[in-house]
C-alpha cells in the first residue's frame, strides 16, 4: 500500500513539473494563474495522500487551508490585477 501511495505522489509531482511549463511560457497572465491554480489542487491531492501515508491527521489541515486559500489568490488576481491592465500589455509583459 505504502508503495502505491508513494508512486502516486511521485506521479503527481511529475505532472506538477509539466505544469510549470505553462507558468513559464504564459502567454497571458491568466494562463500563468491557471497553472498556479492547478499547482494548488495537485498539492492538495499530494497532501491528502501523504496524510494517509504518514498517518498524520495534521497534514489534512494543511490541505484544507490550501483549498481555502487557492481562491484568495485567484480572486485577488482577477479583481486587483487583471482588470486594470489592457490586453496588449498583458501579452507583451
Amino acid at each position: 500500500m505504502t508503495l502505491i501511495y508513494l508512486m502516486i505522489t511521485c506521479f503527481l509531482f511529475l505532472t506538477l513539473m509539466a505544469g510549470m511549463w505553462r507558468i513559464l511560457r504564459g502567454p497571458t497572465a491568466a494562463d500563468r494563474m491557471l497553472a498556479a491554480q492547478l499547482f494548488g489542487t495537485t498539492a492538495v491531492a499530494i497532501l491528502l495522500i501523504l496524510a494517509q501515508l504518514a498517518e498524520q491527521p495534521a497534514f489534512r489541515d494543511a490541505a484544507l487551508l490550501l483549498a481555502l486559500l487557492a481562491t484568495v489568490t485567484v480572486v485577488a488576481f482577477v479583481h486587483r490585477a487583471w482588470q486594470t491592465i489592457s490586453e496588449s500589455e498583458d501579452e507583451s509583459s
Binding site: M1, I4, Y5, I8, F11, L12, T15, A18, G19, W21, R22, T28, A30, D31, M33, L34, A35, Q37, L38, T41, T42, V44, A45, L48, I49, Q52, P57, R60, A63, L64, A67, L68, A70, T71, V74, V75, V78, W82, Q83, E87
Partner: protein, 99 residues
C-alpha cells in the same frame, strides 16, 4: 491484498490519470477558455477520485467527512474561480480560439 485496498489503488490511479489529463490539456489547448475546461475537470474528478480512494481507507467517519469537505471546498473554489476568469476574459474581449 483485500478488495478494499485494490479498489483504493484503482481509484487513486484513475485520479492521477485525470490530473495528468488536466495538465496535458492545460499545456496543449490553444486558448484560455479551453484551458479552463481542462483545469476544472481535473480539479473536479481528479481530486474527487483520489478523495474517494482515501475515503475507503479512512479509520473513522469524521475523516470521511473531512475529506469530503475538502473536496467540496475545492469544487466550489474551482467553479467560482473558473467563472470569474471566464467572465473577465469575455469582458476584456478576449476572443475564443476558433478552428
Amino acid at each position: 491484498m483485500n478488495p478494499a485496498d485494490s479498489l483504493t489503488i484503482l481509484l487513486l490511479m484513475a485520479g492521477a490519470f485525470f490530473f495528468l489529463a488536466g495538465t496535458v490539456g492545460l499545456l496543449r489547448f490553444p486558448d484560455i477558455f479551453t484551458r479552463l475546461h481542462a483545469l476544472t475537470k481535473a480539479d473536479n474528478l481528479g481530486l474527487g477520485l483520489i478523495v474517494a480512494g482515501l475515503v475507503i481507507q479512512a479509520d473513522n467517519w469524521a475523516i470521511v467527512g473531512k475529506l469530503l469537505m475538502i473536496w467540496l471546498l475545492v469544487l466550489l473554489a474551482s467553479a467560482a474561480a473558473c467563472h470569474l476568469i471566464a467572465r473577465t476574459a469575455r469582458r476584456k474581449k478576449i476572443l475564443p480560439w476558433k478552428r
